[in-house]
């Protein structure tokens, strides 16, 4: 019976011109049972309960291996399946057909050609009336945006190297972007983009570099994303767009960064750099911070520091360079005072004195430091000096409290010595008294 069924399936597939591997005899019935079981269970517990319909596509493909079996397996967890869509919605055909010939009827389209994929997906996703039935919140302009993207433009020119929907979203195991295993979930995006953009062979046809993802992984943004698990940290699509993905132009880079760093942007806009950069057509933020490999900014990036970037444009001794130098020195002095106050509190804490109030006050100085570091974008040493002045007052207060705490620790120890000596003397006096009583 089993052999008969296997032969029947093989002959049908051969007739359809497809080369497949049928599972070994022993495993075949198990797979059949588990396949049928899983399909049944998924239907039973599907969020959108469709009437239990026959799906001969899945019935057969779940028994197949490799490229003909994998899609059917992957489709079990596909978001489209959860909404009740099935194979025929993309591939055509008749899933009710008992026979392979009946299933692959006139409507059967097979796998869409790569260049046609955006249109196939767009046939539903650009149809607001259709999409409203399933997810009214979902945008329906993805296809339009796609055609404006670099990917879409390349595809339009007939080069199917360009990414299409399935390259980013997957094919049969498509998930929504808020599902952590989805290719479009925040921390999977660098890998998704890198699948093409880091592949030197694949990108041969393009003039683009292939080190962006590696550079991104060294950035402070990647650190926030992967180490702190901050899903708000920017990934590729936050700067380049997703469906309308394209590199930001020189003039737009600053606005891209301003999405998250508006304050730094505002300060920059009123700095002398703004006019100069505009005139020289230099992209604003990128000029000092880079693009993909944006590392944690440091005070040492200012003039005269270890990572001096001012000297790239300004010669030592010039007014702008001196301003940078002054800013760095003021910051260094503040950081040093801050660390001193912090160490003082830590020392008092180690000695057992409660300093949480002083530590709370120290946070104000930390806030000032953050604000001043941001203020360097204004290139205004006088403003920085004024703000650091407030910070120094806070640090003075913390320092006084820290010294008081250290004094308190000394007082406690001295008090302890006095009290302990007193108690021991008293104990010794008692000992002598007891001895005296015993002798009597």
């Amino acid at each position: 019976m089993k052999m008969k069924m296997k032969k029947r399936l093989k002959s049908r597939l051969r007739a359809s011109g497809e080369s497949v591997v049928i599972r070994a005899g022993k495993r075949f019935p198990e797979r059949t049972i588990s396949g049928v079981f899983s399909v049944t269970m998924i239907f039973l517990f599907s969020p959108v309960l469709l009437p239990a319909q026959k799906n001969s596509c899945l019935e057969c493909h779940l028994q197949l291996e490799e490229e003909l079996g994998t899609p059917a397996e992957a489709f079990q967890g596909d978001i489209h399946r959860q909404f009740g869509l099935s194979c025929q919605d993309c591939h055509g055909g008749n899933p009710l057909g008992e026979d392979i010939e009946l299933a692959k009827d006139k409507s059967f389209r097979g796998a869409p050609a790569r260049a046609k994929i955006p249109e196939v997906c767009g046939s539903c996703h650009s149809d607001s009336a259709f999409m409203r039935r399933y997810n009214p919140n979902l945008r329906v302009d993805q296809l339009d945006l796609y055609w404006t993207s670099r990917h879409g433009q390349i595809l339009k020119k007939g080069d199917d190297h360009a990414a299409v929907c399935t390259d980013c979203h997957g094919v049969h195991g498509i998930q929504t972007s808020n599902f952590p295993k989805s290719r479009t979930f925040a921390w999977n995006i660098p890998e998704t983009c890198g699948r093409c953009h880091s592949d030197k062979d694949y990108m041969k046809v393009s003039s683009l570099p292939t080190n962006q993802v590696n550079e991104y992984r060294e950035s402070v943004h990647a650190q926030a994303l992967f180490e702190k698990k901050d899903l708000g940290a920017p990934v590729c699509n936050d700067c380049h767009g997703n469906h309308g993905a394209a590199p930001p132009e020189v003039t737009s880079v600053a606005y891209v960064c301003r999405q998250c760093h508006p304050s730094a942007g505002d300060l920059f806009s009123r700095s002398p750099h703004k006019t100069a950069y505009d005139g020289l057509e230099i992209s604003e933020c990128e000029a000092c911070h880079g693009n993909h490999r944006i590392v944690r900014p440091s005070d040492e990036m200012l003039a005269g520091g270890n990572q001096d970037i001012c000297s790239g444009c300004h010669d030592a001794g010039t007014t702008p360079y001196e301003a940078g130098l002054r800013m760095r020195k003021m910051l260094a002095a503040f950081v040093s005072a801050y660390e001193g106050a912090e160490a003082l509190l830590a020392s008092a804490e180690t000695k057992g004195v409660e300093v949480s109030q002083a530590k709370f006050t120290l946070q104000e100085a930390n806030t000032v430091l953050i604000q001043v570091r941001n203020l360097t974008h204004s290139l205004s040493p006088s403003e920085i000096e004024a703000q650091l002045g407030d910070g120094h007052k806070v640090l003075e207060e913390v320092k006084v409290r820290g010294q008081e705490a250290i004094e308190e620790a000394k007082f406690r120890r001295t008090g302890l010595i006095v009290a302990t000596v007193f108690l021991f003397l008293l104990a010794a006096a008692l000992y002598l008294k007891i001895r005296d009583l015993r002798q009597k």
Partner: protein
């Protein structure tokens, strides 16, 4: 000066007849032998209790028993109140040393078989004092309303909730609701500063009365020994121990002031490695290690029942150990005692090895 003192003493003597007490102390004898050292732990427990009462009274001046202010008031005591750090650290350290001293006192009494007639009720009252002081520890632990105490209380009351029949009702009564909340803090405060002190004072009075009336027990097999008077000899020696322990508490408080911890956040997940105070850890670890089901009964429930039954038997030891009542040695009880002690020590140690 001495004239003033004499007249003051005479004034007191006329009214309180203190000489009768002194005479009683002089007549009362304390046997001296190789195990006399253990006698001092009873007095030490009393002195530490007095320290607790005094330091607790001072803490009451600033402590606020509410969810919004409890943690903050402890921070204020530790950071702003003059010598507040000392009072609070003394209270917390002494609480732990006191429980330790009670355990030592109890086991020394057990191994010296000091519970044998006519001192059965002294043992029983001591057993109730142990329960009272464990309740002191459990209720006091929550009062700073910090993360560790909050979750340890949650774990502790969850365990109490598994006691068959009365568990859920008991848990609801302790917590004042289904969860650890402001109501729980109020109840624990009420218990800690009103109910338990009253209970402790009553039982301690009975315990001391029995000790003073019946005198110190001499271990079995120790014949005629040297004796010292309770007053002034033993009292002075006792005072010597108190002074040394007080000095040790001072050192602990200065070098290791009791920490405040993070304020409890009821919505935060339970931190990893949460555990109760050390004197409950042997029971806590047992409950963690016990299999899910034993003899078709839930393991945890069975373990709790065993602990309750074990405690009950422990209270009845003077009545169960018939040999000692006939002044005969009872090695079986000694072995049982050693096994229990070893179990407590091993399980306590295991808690700190397992939880990192």
């Amino acid at each position: 000066m001495s004239k003033w003192l004499d007249s003051a003493l005479s004034y007191l003597e006329d009214r309180f007849k203190l000489s009768a007490l002194v005479d009683f102390g002089r007549k009362k004898k304390v046997p001296q032998h190789q195990h006399s050292f253990w006698y001092y732990f009873g007095g030490l427990c009393l002195s530490l209790f007095i320290v607790q009462v005094l330091s607790g009274l001072l803490l009451l001046l600033y402590y606020v028993p509410s969810v919004d202010a409890a943690h903050e008031s402890i921070g204020f005591i530790m950071g702003q109140v003059k010598f507040g750090w000392l009072i609070r650290s003394v209270h917390s350290w002494t609480a732990n040393i006191l429980i330790g001293a009670i355990f030592i006192h109890m086991f020394s009494t057990f191994f010296l078989k000091a519970y044998r007639p006519p001192r059965e009720l002294t043992w029983v009252s001591g057993f109730f004092l142990l329960l009272v002081f464990l309740a002191f520890g459990f209720s006091g632990y929550l009062l700073p309303w910090n993360e560790l105490s909050f979750f340890a209380t949650r774990v502790g009351t969850d365990i109490a909730g598994t006691i068959p029949l009365i568990g859920q009702a008991l848990k609801a009564f302790i917590l004042g609701g289904p969860e650890v909340s402001g109501a729980t803090l109020s109840r624990f405060f009420w218990l800690h500063v009103a109910v338990l002190p009253a209970a402790a004072l009553t039982i301690i009075s009975a315990h001391i009365f029995l000790v003073q009336t019946l005198g110190m027990s001499k271990p079995i097999g120790i014949g005629e020994t040297e004796e010292i008077s309770f007053y002034p000899h033993f009292v002075l020696k006792d005072a010597q121990v108190w002074l040394l322990v007080l000095a040790a508490i001072g050192i602990l408080c200065v070098f290791f002031p009791w920490e405040i911890g993070e304020k409890a956040d009821p919505f935060a997940p339970t931190p990893v490695g949460i555990k109760p105070e050390w004197y409950f850890t042997f029971m806590f670890t047992t409950l963690k290690l016990v299999p899910a089901h034993l003899f078709s009964v839930e393991g945890e429930v069975l373990a709790i029942l065993v602990f309750i039954f074990g405690a009950f038997l422990w209270m009845l030891v003077p009545f169960l150990d018939r040999r000692t009542s006939r002044e005969k040695k009872s090695p079986i009880f000694s072995v049982i005692g050693f096994l229990i002690l070893a179990y407590i020590v091993v399980m306590t140690a295991l808690t700190y090895v397992r939880i990192k």
